[in-house]
């Protein structure tokens, strides 16, 4: 067991429990886009960031990955956290300006507009959270899709962009997609 404080409250939890799991148990709201409790944490959406003070040294950490540790002090709603989270939501709005899920989430945190602009080729309703990749690998165990390329060219693809013969059409990828960008087509 480890003991630490979360928003001023002292807690004792099992070693290896992530800050996000503890916070959700405590009824603290932390936004996420790439997290699903049935799958491994990936830490790509960055929205779950919280402030962790360890040995007097504050840093910003993703709650979905960071394990609760003895003696740390965690704050989920500091000025620094709120500011970075809002800017991230502005980036999401710049990336996926037409996605209702993103618009709604941003609105929830008081972000209605974005100061940032991305090129047409950099915009997409796919936010590269990787939930579909993990669902396919961890739940369906098919590995039909994965990340390809890097930087702004990063995309979710089947091998060689061809129809993946390992895909069984289970639709798990579409089910977990937070922006609904994966569409299912019936084969002839």
């Amino acid at each position: 067991m480890v003991t630490f404080t979360l928003n001023g409250k002292e807690l004792e939890v099992k070693e290896g429990t992530t800050l996000l799991e503890v916070a959700r148990d405590e009824g603290i709201n932390i936004p996420t886009l790439c997290y699903h409790e049935e799958m491994s944490s990936y830490g790509a959406c960055r929205l779950c960031l919280v402030e962790v003070i360890k040995r007097g040294w504050p840093s910003i950490q993703p709650a979905c990955l960071y394990p609760a540790q003895n003696g740390i002090e965690v704050n989920t709603d500091t000025e620094r956290v709120r500011k970075s989270r809002k800017i991230l939501l502005e980036l999401y709005l710049a990336r996926s300006p037409d996605s209702q899920a993103i618009i709604d989430l941003a609105k929830e945190y008081g972000v209605r507009d974005t100061r940032f602009k991305l090129k047409e080729s950099e915009r997409s309703d796919c936010i590269l959270c990787g939930l579909c990749v993990r669902a396919c690998a961890e739940i369906s165990k098919r590995h039909a899709i994965s990340f390809a390329h890097r930087g702004s060219k990063r995309a979710i693809q089947t091998p060689f962009e061809e129809l993946a013969d390992v895909c069984v059409g289970c639709q798990a990828c579409a089910f977990v997609c937070p922006t609904g960008v994966i569409k299912i087509e019936e084969a002839d």
């Binding site: 790509a44 960055r46 991230l88 980036l91 100061r115 940032f116 990340f147 890097r150 930087g151």
Partner: protein, 633 residues
């Protein structure tokens, strides 16, 4: 390979044999009365040094002199021979040739110069005056020591680079090579080795600056088995070539450092993660590993001590981010080269979840020197918290482009002006970017700052791996920031939105400013975004990518404002933000601008002042460049 060892090799079977081995190799090489040492680093090779080398060999042979190295090792002696070496550092003046033992130092040597060099050296005992380095006052420097570029340096790690043949391990033996390992195996316990490293104060040279001894201590105490030693040679910063030059010039020193590290922490396996884009370094590394194995310095029962360790080479496939430790490990493990969040230390759970020491090339190359000369000697160099020396690659608008090594704490002014020779054509210094794309851009008032890990951090930059890009007044800092952000956007793995889309959004703003469409609120927007990218990104690439923007915003805010408010690029780089005009009073009506303009934008008639038609001007700057009367501005 050029210098394959054909003499039968007897492996070293006890550490005590190393002394005899050194003397034997030293004696053998000394039996060659004159050596023409040709730089065979990448830059000199590109300049044609291998042709010079071949020609030297041929012409020496034509004089009836046997140039076969093996002859020396079989007890014979010879009048003269040519030998390749790694980078001498003075890349600007390559191809370089040094005559040993005299020390005569020739630069910009061409094949045609070879007959003169040979006859001057072997017949007249003289020098070829015009190939010696010319000082600014017109005098000539006969040896390296007299050249200002070398005079201000302390070449300790680079000591072997440029003086020994990197393709023949016996050259390394002759300069105390593997004496440090022998000393460790014979006289020191693994604990002693770690203690010595801690005492030396050596900090990781890859950029992080973590104390190497403490890292080794953690790995030594870790309980997991087996343990790994990784050498990070995935050097990717634009303008940086320290690691490449070290591997090309003295690969055995890096290997010996790794073996000593392995002995200290109890590791069995080592990996060198090197860029595949460094073909010469890779070739020499493989050759060096083979030769070390032949002599029983790698593999099972090293020097008959019962200690086993071997090294594999892993070639990176071209992703900058793989220089980041967790991405590097993922890459070796066959996973995509993508950083992962690690809350355990690599010294406990690193490669394959086993205790791992990951250090940079230069860090390992320091190790044999520390063991040989002692931690106290090493710690006597440098500043309070940054000991020893640091290798830098000096590039950009600088007279002496090259590879240098200075004591920690040397000022930027000494590095750039004394060693680097200052800015070409006497132009004013504007800024220096240290630490590569993750570093910062420092202005002239920081020139007297001593360079070490902490000082650089304090002023908003970083040591990084040691790239130093010098800029004159012709560099636009907004454009420089744009260049580095573009680089990071391209090299981001794309996992964290803050790094991937954050850098794209930053780039978008910078592009707008460079096109004259900047808005005053852009500066605050960029600062907000930069702090978010730093806070929200997972790995070092993301957290440090805002540095070029933040440091230029801090030190050169006026230049941003000139772009935004005055629609003017003072450095005349951002094309929409400046024009070229003819200064009527200065124009001598010569028509040179008219004749050289590639876009017919200059109107000129005999005996008339030239005029530039802005609609046609492509702002190439040729008119300004060719004008002899400063009549184009």
């Amino acid at each position: 390979m050029e210098q394959e060892i054909t003499t039968r090799v007897t492996p070293i079977s006890a550490p005590s044999e190393m002394t005899a081995m050194r003397e034997q190799c030293k004696d053998a090489l000394d039996r060659r009365k004159t050596t023409f040492r040709v730089c065979a680093g990448t830059a000199c090779i590109a300049g044609g040094s291998l042709d010079v080398y071949e020609e030297l060999k041929n012409q020496i042979k034509q004089r009836g002199i046997d140039v076969d190295v093996e002859l020396l090792f079989e007890g014979g002696e010879t009048e003269a021979g040519a030998s390749k070496s790694g980078c001498h550092g003075f890349c600007q003046m390559g191809p370089l040739v040094r005559i040993e033992p005299q020390g005569t130092f020739y630069n910009k040597v061409k094949v045609d110069d070879v007959p003169n060099i040979i006859s001057a050296t072997l017949e007249d005992q003289g020098v070829v005056e015009e190939l010696l380095f010319e000082n600014q006052d017109g005098s000539r420097a006969a040896t390296e020591k007299e050249v200002p570029f070398y005079a201000g340096q302390k070449r300790i790690v680079l000591g072997g680079c440029g003086t020994i043949n990197p393709e023949d391990i016996r050259n390394y033996f002759a300069v105390d090579g593997y004496q440090a390992l022998a000393k460790c195996l014979q006289d020191m316990t693994p604990e002693d080795v770690v203690e010595e490293m801690k005492k030396s104060g050596l900090r990781g040279r890859g950029g992080g600056g973590f104390p190497a001894g403490r890292k080794w201590e953690s790995a030594a105490k870790a309980t997991g088995r087996p343990k790994y030693i990784i050498c990070n040679a995935d050097e990717g910063d634009p303008g940086a070539f320290m690691d490449r030059s070290l591997i090309e010039g003295n690969p055995q020193s890096v290997i010996e450092g790794m073996i000593i590290s392995a002995y200290g922490v109890g590791a069995k396996y080592g990996v060198v993660y090197v860029r595949a884009e460094y073909p010469l370094a890779v070739t020499r590394l493989f050759l060096a590993l083979d030769q070390a194995r032949e002599y029983g310095l790698l593999g099972e029962n090293i020097m008959g001590s019962g200690f086993d360790f071997d090294i594999e080479v892993f070639q990176g496939a071209g992703a900058f981010v793989c220089g980041e430790s967790s991405a590097l490990r993922a890459s070796i493990e066959g996973l995509p080269g993508e950083p992962t969040a690690k809350y355990d230390h690599a010294t406990d759970k690193g490669l394959w979840e086993k205790p791992t020491v990951l250090n940079n090339v230069e860090t390992f190359a320091n190790v044999p020197i520390i063991i040989n000369q002692g931690a106290d000697w090493y710690a006597s160099m440098g500043t309070e918290n940054s000991k020893g020396t640091k290798v830098f690659s000096l590039v950009g608008n600088i007279v002496n482009t090259g590879l240098i090594e200075v004591e920690m704490g040397t000022t930027l002014r000494k590095i750039i002006f004394d060693i680097g020779g200052g800015i070409p054509d006497g132009k004013p210094f504007k800024a220096v970017q240290t630490g590569g794309p993750s570093g910062g851009c420092l202005p002239a008032d920081k020139l007297d700052m001593p360079v070490d890990f902490d000082q650089l951090k304090e002023v908003g930059s970083m040591m990084g791996s040691g790239g130093m890009i010098v800029m004159d007044e012709g560099a636009c800092v907004v454009n420089v920031a744009k260049y580095f952000i573009e680089f990071c956007n391209d090299e981001s793995c794309g996992k964290c939105i803050s790094c991937r889309d954050g850098s794209a959004a930053l780039l978008n703003i910078l592009e707008r400013i460079c096109e004259g469409e900047g808005r005053e609120e852009d500066l605050e927007t960029m600062e907000d975004l930069c702090h978010c990218i730093d806070d929200a990104s997972m790995c070092g690439l993301g957290t440090s990518l805002p540095n070029p923007v933040l440091s230029t915003l801090h030190y050169f805010r006026d230049e941003y404002l000139a772009h935004i408010k005055d629609k003017n690029c003072p450095a005349k780089v951002c094309k929409p933000l400046f024009t070229y005009e003819v200064i009527t009073d200065n124009c001598k009506k010569c028509g040179l601008c008219f004749r050289n303009c590639p876009s017919d934008a200059v109107i000129w008639k005999k005996k008339e002042v030239a005029e530039i038609i802005q609609d046609k001007c492509v702002k190439c700057g040729i008119c300004k460049e060719v004008c002899k009367f400063d009549a184009v501005e």
